[in-house]
Symmetry: D2
Subunit: 346 residues, 4 copies
């Protein structure tokens, strides 16, 4: 693991005396950095050159009365960055390649509800070009009184669907303790928005060596999202798919605000593939087809779409699941967008 020296900049308050500047410079040195003061007419700044591997942040210096702010200069993510690896990462999911121009459709119900429900959905999405089947066996629900998933039984149903259709499987893991046994049933481990900064879970997923789809947290800044991915890479697992699924804002018309610019930014800053989840992204089935097109247009590497045989009677999040007919139509309409962005459906 290599990463780089981090200069920080310490901004002093106006009218700080020379002695006070020197006091800060000494503190910067004590914390392991080399201080470089620049004297403005009214205000002085101290650039700190050094290596953050062995030393820590200077942000604590803001408690000194003469310090106005401490600004970090370098990006804090390393292994996920384009600086450390310029070519796009292609994640290989048991033969299905994602990224580097390969576009993947992952589809299936929010929750696995029954063998019949999953199997019919698996066949329908496979027929329309999906290569990976999604389905929740363990569901994180806001209320303890909501349907929490079928658990192990759900995993078995997913395995049966894989056996029958040849589709690869993606399913969410909620608990460090489950990572090992969920890994036995799935091809991709999904980490949900509520666990986006559950670092212990991320480390455990890293150890499994399975590809990990890492959703952006509800109020996670792009930098924090990339740093969460850094936890997985720095723990030895390079197979990470970033997933934009909407952020929480003041808007109430949609469940979340899908931040499509974040897809472009993540691809610019990082070499990792980026998947878009339009279902969670807006929480409304009627908007899903249009968001899918926009996601392709902005440069995403895949889609994660919730599909259900009868959304009105789904056990979870029916309002954002599309039925087979809508799914079929939306996929057939993606072609020109894929062509225009030079992506090939795998």
């Amino acid at each position: 693991m290599i990463f780089a020296p981090l200069p920080m900049i310490v901004i002093l308050k106006p009218k700080t005396s020379k002695e006070q500047v020197e006091e800060v410079a000494r503190e910067v040195q004590k914390l392991g950095y080399s201080p470089h003061p620049i004297f403005g007419e009214l205000q002085t700044v101290i650039a700190a050159v050094g290596d953050e591997r062995t030393h820590h942040t200077l942000e604590s210096l803001t408690v000194l009365p003469q310090v106005e702010r401490v600004l970090p200069v370098q990006k804090r993510y390393k292994l996920v960055s384009r600086e450390s690896k310029s070519e796009e990462t292609v994640v290989d999911v048991d033969g299905i390649k994602i990224g580097g121009g390969n576009f993947v459709i992952m589809a299936g119900p929010c929750s696995v509800e029954s063998e019949e429900q999953l199997m019919s959905t698996a066949k329908a999405v496979k027929a329309r070009g999906a290569k990976i089947l999604r389905g929740g066996a363990y569901k994180p629900r806001t209320s303890p009184y909501e349907f929490q998933g079928l658990g192990l039984e759900g995993l078995r149903i997913l395995a049966a669907a894989k056996q029958e259709t040849g589709l690869k499987i993606i399913t969410e893991v909620l608990s460090e303790r489950d990572v090992e046994h969920v890994s036995d049933f799935t091809d991709i481990l999904q980490v949900g928005a509520r666990n986006a900064q559950n670092f212990q879970l991320l480390i455990e997923c890293a150890k499994s060596r399975k590809p990990v789809l890492l959703k952006r947290g509800m109020s996670e800044r792009i930098e924090e999202w990339l740093l969460a991915a850094e936890y997985i890479l720095s723990n030895g697992n390079p197979n990470v798919l970033l997933c934009e699924r909407g952020i929480r804002t003041f808007e109430t018309y949609t469940r979340n605000t899908l931040d499509l610019a974040a897809v472009a930014i993540a691809k610019k800053e990082s070499h990792l593939p980026v998947i878009v989840d339009p279902s969670q992204g807006c929480g409304r089935a009627d908007l899903v087809p249009m968001l899918c097109r926009a996601a392709v247009a902005i440069g995403a590497d895949g889609l994660l779409i919730e599909v259900h045989p009868n959304p009105a009677e789904a056990l979870s999040d029916g309002q954002q699941q599309v039925d087979f007919e809508v799914f079929s139509r939306l996929i057939s309409e993606l072609d020109p967008f894929l062509n225009a962005t030079k992506r090939k459906l795998v």
Copy 2:
């Protein structure tokens, strides 16, 4: 002006007595609505049927101790809604038609800085297919010490560019007092995000009868944005272009978070054309081309793009303006997206 009866629903607290329910019902009646109580096992709700034209909201009833919440049922916008007019509005800007499948490019500098700057930009954007020239003469700036625009001189330069190139003009109006004289120089009046709920300015723009491009406010919900447009329509001016330009969120990587789902929603809820401003939408020139594609893909009716001969030396917002070369390339790449969404460049 016609609009419809508005049922509201008053939710009472659990364990409310029959007398307390009746007290609320009487209050509902007093305020002009007909109360319809539904008794649940634990909780009672009262549906209020009536006409909000002559009566007012019941939200004030939440001050009664037995009232839990008051929920509005009907949408509050009328004239802008698809219910009142199902076919798409086509706004005619002195011969340039926008909406109903007609896609328009509006482009030009953030601020008019000089005749040379504007004229060169006008010619460059015209050559690449823009039909409308943007340029700010009056600039709303966060700090009083920033460049505030050339004012009347800016308007004269815009008029000269129109004369020379035949492009139509869009420019921002900041003040009720300016509406009349700005109207003499422009084809579209632009109302910026900071004035998105400056209702007096909206009413004045309505009276001018000029087409109005109404930007969404920085923290305006979609419903509020449509209600702001309702101010213009209900004051007699049907020629409104809605403009999504990003909302304010916790994300700091971009200046704003472009809410592309809002474009799809606005087009679903309303018959008005929707324009996307990718420059303000992210505040970074490097993301503009990708956001343009996504905007077309989601179904926008036009783009408002900031273009400058030399962005590094622009007097305002240089960081989000593209140069002629980038503009030229981004336009040439839009074709497949326009075709796929059945839109025709006007």
Copy 3:
């Protein structure tokens, strides 16, 4: 008007060559600043020393490929800052002093609805210690179909109440054109959240020389709020009262999220008095008394409270107005908090 040189810092991308650094340095010089490069091991920064009075921001330099970011170092507000005036401003409203330890209660209905309603409220709030009477004559309403205020008739009723009770008047002004005649009837001009960055209105209010109560915008950062106040001071009117009234967040339980830390910050950064509006701040009458106590505890210089004889039947925002009894009790409970923060009720 005096203000200070503004050093900015230009952060270059890692691995930028010496020539590329020099190119940026030349551009910095061309834009009027003196460049001071600091070479880190991996990354270089250029400090720009100079005066922003005659030159403009360097933020536009981010369009250069080798530039990562441009960070402003200095605060952009000058006249409102503690640096320019360290002692607290005391605003004198026709003999009522606000700030510098003097705490004021402003109270009254959201809207002036009738002479009877306003007069009874005026007497009630005066009896409990209010010195300033609030009441909206012009109301900015989200929907054009809501009650918009009594206008001139409302102003006349306010004047009558002043005559009768001796209370000073605060009322909102929505339009530049109204500033002059509203000034004839009021002692304080209130600028509402929706007009918080309507700079033309702010400038017009500045010219009136009346004290101005400037509400924070719904999504206005503290820096932007202070810069809006700077518009008033730099146009010659030092009598500004800042008013925190809640910001827009994802929380839906309350109408806004009252940001009490912002009160402490505004008082630290600026010498201007800070008023808290708990009614708008939460949008729920039942929370108003507790928020009033917290506002005093955090160091506010006054309260702006909505009071109505019969909130359930109010023509606007009844849900957030307290009745006379609640108002009376909440005022009587403020004493220990005022004593503990060394504030004296004026």
Copy 4:
């Protein structure tokens, strides 16, 4: 576990035919509820009466073309609500009572860094009235390259400090797997903001039977926060302390926006004690004293304050930790606020 029938309301689109209404009514019935339609002049709503224990949400019905929205009527939290238990819960932490008028000070460093650092802090905070010592042994850090805490060694140092001073201990638990052994060293288990909806961790903490301090998530609505607490209570552990620590907003001056209204609301809606963390709440040591006063004034039951012998050199979050002198002064200034809110320091 007892909870109540949940009526929901299904709002149909305008101009829905009688047949379409009946179709929805049948679907409501099929999903286990009894439908009660109310016909408005333009719009119809169907109230659904029934029991959500055995049936699921109707939100999925929004996928039907004639359904506009589904509105939940009842609150979804039960055991934490004032309806299920009206008197305030007093949490007993090994003899220290919190809630019901008993106010507690919890204080100590962000991270346990060394025996010397913790012991000196423990003695200092005890001398000023703290009864509970905080200190992180396992630290959730945004970047994998930041200090992650001393782990087991940190727990041992906490135990030594408890032995020496008699203070009770609160420390964060990050992982389900750690709950058991962390419980051996601590009196209160702290669940941090990033794990606020890590339901598996909450359930594991519930099983430990230790008191749990549950922080509000960065973008968690109050309803979701209470539902997270519901996970703990419904898993058999009634000893929950809610903790407001600021929410994420667009404001950048502070690290978070402390939502003090949420404290008043949580106490109104729930019988559980509410603690305020002003250090995380704003991320700036200079604001901590003022926020402490406001927290007492709004009705909090305790404070969780970060204190460090030398914040400038702290290994984590130095910028928000106060030193012994500031801590001492801030505590001595709380008395009048405690008296005014009838709270007694335990």
